[in-house]
Symmetry: C2
DNA sequence: CGCCAACTTGATGGCTGTCAAGTCAGGTGG
DNA sequence: CCACCTGACTTGACAGCCATCAAGTTGGCG
């Protein structure tokens, strides 16, 4: 990011607190007061919001390098739950300290703006997925997205473990778990992926990609 | 926001450029390079994104006091189209200048973080709407939201003009325009609203509200 | 080894999309 | 001023996708 050594030291000081979480642990819960952002160092997380009547909606899955907790800045209270889907490690970023520091380091402020902006754009992508795609297309887009993100982190793009349940995938994609399960089976029958419980391999990336935008007109 | 007079003067300087737009005008288009944020002074706007295959998804409706363009910060290019739905007026906020200024004025930086955070939370609300509500519930939630926002701006909470078409509402809610039209008719038959083209009155707020979370279990 | 959560698969139904045929309102030009 | 035209909207008939309900099956963990 083009920081001076002094600035780097300051940022280092900011993120000194680490936190380990086990699978199933909550990082924070909806309604808790907001104090810090959390950078995922390693592992896999999921965020979800609850409606008043008890239904919940998975709003995202976070991997190494991604940020948790930005929902809490606006109101001072977290607006969703964040749960670890495997044993994971976080950097705790106390937010008041962070804000002070980013007054001194322009690049840090800019970085924060970009990260939040990208989160907004990502959310718009999900809205598009939920609003205008059919079930198979949604699942294909989801798998392509996971593949791309694993790949960017040095893992295999074509073979990975789904850390979340079918129900969580369904919630994220606006589908029921049975539908997700059926679609996995269908994609397997079609020779596009092989699925064995949580283990997925993409055997035909081109066809999977072609499912994502199926109606060129 | 608790700013000193000097700070207020600086912020005043920042937002000096105004821009009038007529109904149908674009504020910016997807792909254009990002230079400024736009604060809605008066009027009504809509943002939408296009998939590669031509379908588009309305991602939001913006009223006075709300901000357009935050999607562009992350990549330096706008990620959606912003269109005026009536003759409107904007403040242009050149973003580089804004970032410099918010290094000097802590309250300004904090404000920006809060605004972006709230946008993220709002988007999560839409994801919840799209992912877990049925059609009638979505429309009810949409009307309640509009009502609340009009009310907050000093307009009637129970009677307003829909600035957008049925198609735009449908796109936003993940429904087809025919479905939206049918639902308006149904809500009218049920005595909850009266609709006449773009004019809507809410005649039974309690019942409308009760449609939003219909399954207490 | 047994239990339980997660998952798969089948049968059925209903919500919402699709296609089609109008109706209405507002704007334009004669 | 009126006829016309066009985009927006409404309504009906029908179909299909996905939810729902139900009954297993599998795998992980104590």
């Amino acid at each position: 990011m083009g920081l001076s050594q002094t600035d780097l030291d300051k940022v280092d000081g900011l993120v000194q607190v680490r936190r380990s979480v086990k699978r199933g642990d909550h990082v924070f819960r909806s309604g808790e007061s907001f104090h810090a952002l959390y950078a995922v160092r390693a592992g896999f997380f999921m965020t979800s919001s609850l409606t008043e009547d008890g239904r919940d909606q998975v709003t995202g899955f976070q991997m190494a390098g991604e940020l948790l907790g930005m929902d809490g800045i606006g109101s001072g209270k977290h607006a969703c739950d964040a749960v670890a889907l495997e044993d994971s490690e976080l950097c705790v970023i106390p937010f008041p300290t962070f804000e002070e520091l980013s007054l001194q380091i322009p690049a840090l402020q800019q970085h924060m703006h970009r990260v939040m902006s990208r989160e907004i754009v990502r959310d718009h992508g999900v809205m598009m997925l939920l609003g205008s795609m059919r079930a198979e297309e949604r699942l294909a887009a989801f798998l392509m997205n996971l593949s791309q993100r694993y790949s960017a982190r040095g893992f295999s793009a074509n073979e990975f473990i789904l850390r979340m349940t079918r129900e969580a995938i369904g919630s994220y994609l606006g589908l029921k778990l049975e539908t997700v399960s059926r679609l996995f089976s269908k994609l397997q029958e079609d020779g596009i992926i092989t699925v064995n419980q949580k283990r997925v391999s993409i055997t035909n990336v081109a066809r999977l990609r072609s499912l994502v935008n199926p109606r060129p007109y």
